[in-house]
């Protein structure tokens, strides 16, 4: 690689080795390249380690690992379906709450709020994204879960109890609690990225809609939001990737139950929570290897979503100019 960089106009005289190294540029190039390449290598190594260490489990269970419903460490029977189900369900619940809330707030911040207020609010939202997940979990355990148990879940059972989604005893902990805490963790992403996408919509689009007699809301909803839809979708994918991989807050409120339940009030498990709870006490190679394969599944899921999100965000912020 070192020869690929041109540091000076090519001279007609052949350079001596001493001159070649004198300015140190080649050394600096090489040193920085090593550090940059280490980022690449360590990532490849991470995938390799997950792959190698999950080999026993992959060899024994094959694809039935993903469809098996039984997780029994004593019998060494490992199926990941309850955890995949829990992960997808809680993330879906989270998005159900955070997407309307986040997109609504993003519209307000991008279209309506005066720039100063918008910037302050966005900063506060970004601070919210920086709150460590263990702190959200702490709050969830001691404030949200008791509230859900005493008021929230009995209310849902009274009003929507005829649905299979809201049946069974109100524990407080469970899919619903995890979904709620994940909603709080995901909307900062949706707000800050959607707002960027909305701000990138050219001003002429708004002016054209308003000139045609549209109200502010009509111009926003029928012109600006569709124009920025890819960026908004990208922010949702990114939020979903974060929700799937989120560990601590979910582990603290999910309730730790290895079954598959229809009711949102029921305790369950997510992939990340299983790993967090079981990894340090796992005995036996097959047990560990199954947990590492769960990690691999989680890794693959989030990678696909992150990749898709980045493409979408790139596609919107690349086109159009920023609102002046």
């Amino acid at each position: 690689m070192a020869t690929a960089v041109v540091t000076a106009p090519p001279s007609s005289r052949p350079r001596k080795l001493g001159q070649f190294w004198r300015d140190g540029d080649h050394i600096a190039h090489l040193v920085t390249l090593i550090f940059a390449a280490s980022v690449f290598l360590v990532t490849v190594f991470l995938v390799y380690e997950l792959w190698i260490h999950s080999a026993p489990s992959r060899a024994k269970f094959g694809f039935s690992f993903l469809t098996g419903k039984v997780w029994d460490p004593v019998a060494e029977q490992f199926g990941a379906l309850p955890f995949i189900y829990g992960t997808v369900l809680t993330s879906f619940l989270a998005l159900l709450i955070s997407v309307p809330l986040g997109v609504g707030a993003a519209i307000f911040l991008a279209e309506l709020a005066p720039p100063r207020l918008s910037n302050i609010c966005t900063f506060l939202v970004e601070l919210l994204a920086a709150v460590p997940s263990v702190i959200l979990g702490l709050l969830a355990i001691f404030t949200m879960v008791p509230l859900l148990r005493q008021y929230g879940e009995p209310f849902l059972k009274r009003t929507l109890g005829f649905l299979p989604l809201f049946q069974g005893p109100a524990y407080g902990v469970g899919y619903l609690a995890a979904g709620l805490i994940l909603a709080i963790m995901t909307f900062p992403f949706i707000i800050s990225i959607s707002r960027e996408a909305l701000l990138a919509v050219p001003r002429e689009q708004r002016e054209a809609a308003l000139a045609l007699g549209a109200t502010k809301w009509e111009s926003t909803w029928q012109v600006v939001v569709p124009y920025a839809r890819l960026g908004i979708l990208g922010s949702i994918f990114l939020a979903l990737a974060r929700a799937l991989g989120e560990t601590m807050a979910v582990t603290m409120v999910i309730g730790n139950d290895t079954g598959i339940h229809t009711s949102l009030l029921s305790p369950g498990y997510t992939i990340a929570a299983v790993i967090a709870n079981m990894f340090s006490e796992a005995t036996g190679d097959m047990y560990l290897s199954s947990l590492i394969e769960l990690g691999l599944v989680l890794f693959a899921l989030t990678m696909v979503l992150n990749g898709a999100a980045q493409l979408l965000i790139l596609a919107t912020t690349g086109k159009g100019s920023r609102q002046p």
């Binding site: 360590v42 309506l112 263990v134 355990i141 967090a276 990894f279």
Partner: protein, 282 residues
Amino acid sequence: MDPIARRNIVNKIMLTVTGICTVLTVSTLFLILGYLVVNGWRSVDWNFFTKLPMAAGETGGGVANAIVGSGIVILIAMVIGIPVGFLGAIYLAEFGGKTVPMLIRYTADLLNGVPSIVIGIFAWTVIVVPMHHFSAWAGGFALSLMMIPIGLRATEQFLRGVPNSLREASLALGASKTRTIISVIVPAAKQGILTGMILGVARIAGETAPLLFTSLNNQYWAKSPNEPTAALPVLIYNYAISPYEDLHRQAWAAGLVLLVLVLIANIASRWVLSRGAAVQRG
């Protein structure tokens, strides 16, 4: 009803709804901070910062070892993460061609998206297993992996923001490329770089999942980074799920301390950046 009046009413309602969404989301931060202050501030006292944890079930004690342990683990992460992020970014912004930096940028984004618990598994397989015991080294390594992508991308972004005229002026004066980077480009971008590093540290300071089975936990002082080490986020987790009232009290206090530190770091990074912008403009 008159269609125009209806449209105006819809307009008002929907715009109000977006306003409510904003109030709900932004107020969450204050709600979190408020709850922590109300529940935690009384327990943040001298004992909290100076004493070791008591045996389970007894009241009193502090979290001194977890505070110091967090510091050690973060320090290890910084010693690994800052050079890699900083020098790697110099390569990406100044030396790299097209293909290799693109590949590295892509993997850095990939690494940034890896769930923290998976990072923990990786650190466990490459450090804890060969060493046969949990250690602060493993925890620091895991956290450094979370810090590198943030530092790398932020530093690169700000290095690219340095005007080309500065590079050309330095090269025209006869300085080598390395000299130009050291004396001109990095100083011009130093606020941005510092911001990236602070944000990286702020992110890892609250991470729990990568530490669960790397640095584990410790009731006492860790005598060296080779031993399992207590860390504030892990302590909050353990205390919160424990059945003891007194530990819950300390979990709130520890949560308050951690959150305030993380928020200060985030606000400080903003402040550094805004000062940098002012200097460049003026």
